[in-house]
């Protein structure tokens, strides 16, 4: 194996660019266009998520979350077990639900997570991985339930990046933008939900 790959590649790049060393960088001025759209961002977010086969349930307060999760699991005929992100500390879970924390395991059917932000532009929830928000909760279970505060909804993806920069948080191992349940069209372009990730994405939208 050649151990001087870095030098070889950089030297060839510089030769092709007609110089021998690095050149001071002038950043590209201007910014990319943002798709304009009218109306309320939260309504737009809800419409876009539903367009992408997610379900959205508006709630009035955090106190309603436990019962809403229970209702959703019942509707889906899912077992009354839940893997919840530890970050969700203020939720009173119904006694009938068995709630565990930690990373997802293969046998987990349902999970509940918070999000860092939500994106109205094309519809998506944005999550950051961390000790209290393991990213496998977003991908392993069949049912992924996400808690979104209406105030978290951002108009454009650039606004999400700005929010992250302003938060002062380091870049996590993974940042996920999730726009609906997992899907595939790899067999005869027939759209089928639940390819590898969750079969259902259910959003609990908290107003106020």
């Amino acid at each position: 194996m050649r151990h001087d790959g870095r030098e070889r590649v950089l030297a060839q790049i510089r030769q092709s660019l007609g110089r021998t060393g690095a050149k001071p960088l002038q950043p590209l001025p201007g910014a990319g266009p943002r798709p304009a759209y009218e109306g309320d961002v939260v309504e737009h977010f809800v419409a876009k998520m539903r367009e992408k086969a997610a379900t959205v349930e508006p709630l009035n307060s955090l106190a309603d979350v436990g019962a809403a999760v229970q209702r959703f699991l019942d509707q889906m005929h899912a077992p009354p077990r839940l893997r919840a992100a530890r970050a969700l500390t203020d939720i009173a879970w119904p006694e009938s639900l068995q709630v565990e924390h930690g990373a997802a395991r293969r046998e987990d059917v349902s999970s509940v997570t918070p999000c860092f932000a939500a994106l109205a532009e094309s519809g998506g929830i944005v999550t950051l991985s961390g000790p209290d928000t393991p990213s496998t909760l977003n991908f392993v279970p069949d049912n992924h339930i996400v808690l979104v505060y209406a105030t978290q909804v951002q108009r454009h993806l650039e606004d999400v990046w700005a929010l992250w920069r302003a938060s002062g948080r380091p870049m996590p191992r993974t940042l996920n933008i999730i726009s609906g349940p997992s899907r595939t069209a790899d067999i005869e372009q027939t759209i089928q939900l639940g390819a590898h990730g969750p079969r259902r994405l259910h959003i609990l939208l908290l107003h106020g």
């Binding site: 961390g130 393991p134 089928q192």
Partner: protein, 474 residues
């Protein structure tokens, strides 16, 4: 490179006569075209996004060394490793060494065209690793032992019935005995089988659509979520990416994300957009312990210097394939290597040698639809013409075609001679084809008239018709 054992003409003949393939191609390209067109129509900013994307790419390419160094520094700061592979062989060696060190038995893979380009699966399997493609389309063609026929939908040529047969063959030994006929059942069975592999995998390999210099992140987009399971559940995550995929900032990546899904699958966004930055952090409960990025050059840094720099803007969306009358008639396998369609007809000769893939740039009608839909405005027909010119200059163009082109050049540069010849031959051809209105045979053009008729000229040359019309108008 994996060298095809048949000629381009042979592969085209097989493809044109394959009724199943033709039906699959018609069905797929029609769907993509309609969905893309509807989304482009709904986004007034689409053209401005294309222009911005082109400008970002041009800016990055002019400063590629600096952006790669910035990206590398940021990945290292986040605890990741960056490896530079000058050639495909170097890339394979680097990845093999990482897998060896990790004592990897099972390796899961998300979709990566670069890994196809460097022939990674064959190398890993030869070294005794079990490799499992996890994108459903890639998984299907891996079971069929075929290369992808499309860069976005690799199993586009496979019918539902063929997939059912493949699953019979490969899933029976695992205890799945039911013969499947419905897409939903097939997706579900593949989901169950692949679940086992994700949780068992030692190494997960994914591609990288974009590398962000600002944060040291690699970005992938998928609809299935397979890339995320691949990289979150394995102990080691390896990203393979071309050196041209770096972008300066998250905002710049956003411009490309808006273009990519719309151009590729006719979606506003793919279901999962994932940024990966380094290995698991202190306290994290999941994620890989090691994070490696393998930057693959394989001819790209040379491309940067010549007439083909613009090709490095390519984001591998596949829109040029879907809109190409040649690709949609012959499918991806006829192109003989991993990159098909217009982008492949430029890339394949540039990576493997313009003498190795003579036919590809010549099997193009220069209709220009690829350039019209390219989200980063690559002048594909112009680049294909430039390869043809270089092939001619280097004496790669076959003798008969050379002689014909040289004869044409002599004629086309002498207006008087050209007009005299036309005034003689046009009325002649017109008389020969008068009865049928077309000509079924022409001297020296049997290959062309074997399968089609030449409409007979109307009796006058263009110059004569033009003069007559101007005379009539006055």
């Amino acid at each position: 490179m994996h060298a095809p054992t048949t000629t381009f003409a042979q592969r085209v003949s097989v493809a044109i006569l394959d009724k199943r393939l033709q039906a699959a191609l018609d069905h797929a390209s029609g769907g993509f075209l309609k969905k893309r067109a509807a989304l482009v129509e709904a986004l007034p900013e689409f053209e401005a996004l294309r222009e911005r994307a082109r400008d970002i790419k041009d800016h990055v390419l002019a400063n590629l060394d600096t952006y790669l160094e910035r990206y590398e520094a940021e990945v290292k700061r986040q605890g990741g490793h960056v490896h530079w592979a000058a050639t495909a062989e170097d890339a394979r060696e680097i990845i093999l060494a990482i897998c060896r060190k990790a004592n990897a038995k099972t390796i899961t893979k998300g979709k990566s065209m670069v890994s196809e380009e460097i022939g990674l699966n064959e190398a890993l399997e030869a070294a005794g690793h079990e490799v499992i493609e996890t994108d459903l389309g890639e998984y299907i063609i891996q079971l069929a032992k075929e290369p992808p026929s499309h860069i976005i939908v690799p199993a586009v040529h496979k019918t539902k019935a063929q997939v059912g047969d493949l699953f019979d063959l490969h899933h029976r030994p695992l205890g799945y005995t039911k013969h499947l006929t419905e897409v939903s059942e097939m997706v579900n069975e593949a989901r169950q089988v692949l679940r086992g592999h994700y949780f068992r995998a030692d190494v997960g390999i994914t591609g990288g659509n974009f590398l962000v210099a600002e944060t040291g992140s690699s970005i992938i987009v998928t609809n299935e979520g397979n890339g995320d399971l691949t990289q979150s559940l394995a102990r080691v995550h390896i990203v393979t990416s071309g050196i041209e995929r770096v972008v300066p900032t998250l905002d710049d990546a956003t411009t490309f994300l808006r273009l990519l899904a719309r151009s590729a699958t006719g979606q506003e966004t793919e279901t999962y957009t994932t940024l990966s930055t380094g290995p698991k952090r202190a306290g994290d409960l999941d994620g890989p312990e090691e994070y490696h990025v393998v930057l693959v050059d394989n001819g790209r840094s040379k491309m940067l210097g010549g007439a083909f720099r613009e090709m490095l803007r390519c984001i591998r969306c596949g829109a040029c394939l879907n809109h190409c009358p040649v690709y949609t008639s012959i499918g991806g396998h006829a192109y003989g290597w991993v990159y098909p369609g217009p982008m492949g007809s430029v890339l394949t000769p540039l990576i493997n040698g313009i003498d190795k893939a003579y036919d590809l740039p010549n099997a193009c009608t220069l209709n220009g639809r690829c350039q019209t839909v390219c989200p980063v405005k690559i002048p594909l027909p112009g680049l294909l013409r430039e390869i043809r010119r270089q092939q001619f200059e280097q004496g790669i163009t076959p003798g008969v075609i050379r002689v014909a082109l040289e004869a044409w050049a002599v004629l086309a540069r002498r207006a008087g001679l050209y007009h005299r010849l036309m005034r003689f031959s046009i009325p002649l051809l017109s008389r020969l084809g008068r009865r049928r209105g077309s000509l079924g045979w022409l001297p020296l053009a049997g290959g062309w008239t074997d399968t089609r008729d030449l409409p007979a000229p109307q009796g006058r040359t263009f110059q004569q018709a033009w003069k007559a019309q101007r005379g009539a108008r006055r």
